[in-house]
């Protein structure tokens, strides 16, 4: 018996193999330990009380010392059981190591049984008949009482009861009394029945524990499910709140926006309009609800609208910047620019169409006026200027007869200023064309060296006016470029005339042309006052002119360099300036070299050594 009590599995009704080692089996075991230990104080109390009563009854006689010894043994075992109980309570109640606690309790149960067996073996033979009856009752009572104590573990009960039954049966059988011999046969039977009952109870407990655990797990699962459900509900509520908030926000956007917004159904009928649309068309939302959008479009454009609508429904792609001639309630036609977006559901059906538009009538009118103004500038201003400049040139040339010196001075001033006005008009027209994207270049294969020579000839007269001469320095390399000849001349003229204007009287403007890997670079060096520090950043901006008496005196529109920059950039080049050692400024631009077609061998041009002299202009006045 003691062997089996020491085995960890002895006191446990072997669970099915499927449960072995599972958390479930362990927690059932822990429950069993709790059940057994929690009954322990009652058992100890019962044992002590019954033992004291027995000791009192058995004290008389020859074996008083033995009775005292037994009582002490019972008290010792009870004390041991109590300390075990207290140790169990102080700890985690056997949760971590239920097998160990079960084993210790099994030993205690066996010890408890053995104390009763000791009483049977020692006191039964030595006492009188009535005391023997008392003892027999006591022993059977102890055996029966143990059932409830140890029912949670039938092997434990079997060990405990065996501690009583084995010595008792032995004492009865060897007493030599026929009645006692017969009783001796009954004790094992009683033992067997009691163990059987304990086993049954054990089973009941077992299934009870399992049910409890299953229930607990169900409850836990349920609680988890509830928790998740709660969380999802919270999330759902939050999502709904957000949707509502964004809905309100969208409604606000649509309501307050200056853009007219119309919701149309897939047939083109109006569902809803916002405030801006009300104001734009002059209808209340209820007046338009259910009406076809064509009510807001000039009849002669209905066909075009139908075509666009079909396209929209087919492609399901938004149409942006669609200009439509709309009709207001008061019959006035306006031009609106619309962005039309189909709303498509998951099934791919267009459920609604949102049209957002604004009145661009005035913008278009402004654009038209601007064009008209540009045209006026171009023609109406240039025509009289043609007459003025032409007349003055004829006078100043002397072909009409030599004018008086004072008169010539004045007509020269007049011609120069008329020319300046013409330059300004031309520059404004250029800037306007560049900014509206209407300036187109006519690039062709050009020899930049030739264009440069031509520019020097064209600007020679201008330089002479400032008593400045142009000097071409170094040898001119062959410089094929892909550029617009007229515009290139314009850029060169601008740089050369600027350099001439700002050079000191009698000065020289040096011009170089270099070719380095893939690029050609033209540089125009002057000995002018240089570029003021605070003006550098704005050098190529529109109407950029350094604030000084000098620039006012020199004239110019302030547009020239801005135009040059755009023109050079349109020809894939770069333009810039740098200070020059010893004073003055260098303006330069670079253009990519036009690659010779495959197979064509590059041809070096020979440069005249006296080329620089060719373009030098002597002082004429």
């Amino acid at each position: 018996m003691s062997e089996s009590a020491a085995s960890s599995t002895t006191f446990v009704a072997a669970p099915g193999p499927a449960h072995a080692g599972t958390v479930d089996a362990r927690s059932v075991l822990a429950d069993r330990v709790v059940q057994l230990y929690s009954q322990l104080p009652l058992g100890i109390a019962g044992t002590v009380v019954v033992s004291l009563v027995a000791a009192f009854e058995l004290r008389a006689g020859r074996y008083a010392e033995l009775v005292a010894l037994w009582g002490a043994l019972v008290l010792f075992v009870s004390a041991a059981r109590l300390s075990l109980y207290l140790a169990w309570r102080r700890g985690d109640r056997g949760a971590t190591d239920p097998e160990q606690w079960l084993r210790w309790l099994g030993i205690a149960a066996l010890a408890s049984g053995v104390t009763w067996g000791f009483a049977a073996a020692v006191f039964f033979p030595s006492h009188a008949d009535e005391q023997q009856v008392f003892l027999a009752l006591l022993l059977t009572g102890a055996m029966a009482g143990g059932i409830s104590m140890y029912a949670a573990s039938w092997p434990m009960y079997a060990a405990y009861a065996a501690g009583i039954a084995v010595p008792f049966t032995y004492v009865l059988a060897t007493f030599g009394n026929r009645l006692f011999t017969e009783i001796a046969l009954l004790v094992p039977a009683f033992y067997a029945v009691s163990v059987g009952i304990a086993w049954r109870l054990n089973e009941v407990f077992d299934s009870g524990y399992r049910l409890r655990h299953a229930y607990r797990r169900l409850t836990e699962d349920n609680a988890e499910l509830n928790r998740r459900l709660q969380q999802q509900l919270t999330e759902l509520a939050e999502a709904r709140r957000q949707v509502e908030a964004s809905g309100r926000k969208l409604a606000l956007f649509a309501e307050r926006s200056p853009i007219a917004v119309l919701e149309l159904d897939p047939q083109g009928r109006i569902r809803e309009i916002n405030r801006a649309a009300e104001l734009l068309f002059g209808y209340a939302p209820v007046e338009l609800a259910g009406e076809h959008a064509k009510k807001l479009i000039l009849p002669k454009y209905h066909e075009e609208f139908d075509a666009q609508w079909r396209r929209l429904l087919e492609t399901r792609e938004p149409i942006a910047r669609l200009k439509i001639r709309n009709l207001r309630r008061d019959g006035i036609g306006i031009v609106c620019e619309w962005t039309v977006t189909p709303l498509v559901n998951r099934a791919g059906d267009t459920v609604a169409v949102i049209a957002q538009g604004r009145d661009v009538t005035q913008e278009l009118e402004a654009e038209r006026l601007k064009k008209e103004f540009t045209s006026t500038l171009s023609h109406e201003l240039r025509t009289p200027l043609t007459s003025i400049i032409g007349s003055l040139q004829l006078i100043n040339s002397g072909v009409m007869g030599e004018p008086e010196k004072d008169v010539l001075e004045l007509t020269t001033v007049a011609e120069r200023n008329a020319q300046r006005l013409l330059d300004l008009i031309n520059d404004i027209l250029d800037i306007e064309k560049i900014e509206s994207g209407k300036l187109t270049l006519a690039p062709e294969a050009l020899a930049l060296d030739d264009v440069l020579r031509e520019a020097l000839v064209l600007n020679r007269a201008f330089a002479e006016r400032y008593r400045v001469r142009f000097e071409l320095r170094g040898e001119l390399p062959q410089a094929p470029v892909h550029a617009d000849r007229k515009r290139l001349l314009q850029v060169l003229t601008n740089l050369l005339s600027n350099a001439a204007k700002f050079s000191p009287e009698g000065g020289t403007v040096e011009v170089t042309l270099e070719r380095t890997d893939g690029r050609v670079r033209v540089e125009v060096h002057d000995r002018g006052p240089g570029v003021p520090e605070n003006f550098r950043a704005r050098m190529f901006s529109r109407f950029a002119q350094a604030e000084s008496a000098l620039t006012r005196q020199k004239g110019g529109t302030g547009l020239g360099l801005a135009i040059c920059k755009r023109l050079i950039e349109m020809m894939n080049g770069t333009i810039g300036f740098a200070d020059r050692d010893g004073g003055g400024t260098t303006f330069y631009f670079e253009l990519p070299v036009l690659q010779a077609p495959a197979g064509a061998s590059p041809q070096e041009t020979t440069c005249h050594p006296d080329r620089s002299a060719e373009f030098s202009t002597s002082k004429t006045r």
């Binding site: 023609h379 240039r382 025509t383 400049i389 032409g390 007349s391 040139q393 004829l394």
Partner: protein, 130 residues
Amino acid sequence: MPSRPLSRILYVEDEVDIQRIARLALERFGKFTVEVVGDPLQAMEAIAAFGPDLVLLDWMMPGMDGPTLFRRIKEDERTRHLPVVFMTAKASGAELAELKSLGAAGTISKPFAPKELPEQLRAIWAALPD
């Protein structure tokens, strides 16, 4: 290049001031014989009467613009051979290219420099086929 030098020019221009300047420039600098027509609708008659070597045509004119008159000249059997040069302040590159392809001899941009006008016309004349 035509075998004889350029000498008779018919100038169609509605602006009186510009007429005067151009005439002076062509006569004084260029030593040409110049006939000026102010009304483009009378241009065809003037061409027949004057018999110019070259017609100088303003682009924008009331009544009939330069390109229309140009087409009329080119449609007429008797005037088809005449070289026509446009004077223009605003024609776009595409329009000029179209006119050239139709047979315009050249273009002179406005405002023109009176001193250079005769030379420009002589250069265009020199570039003409026989």
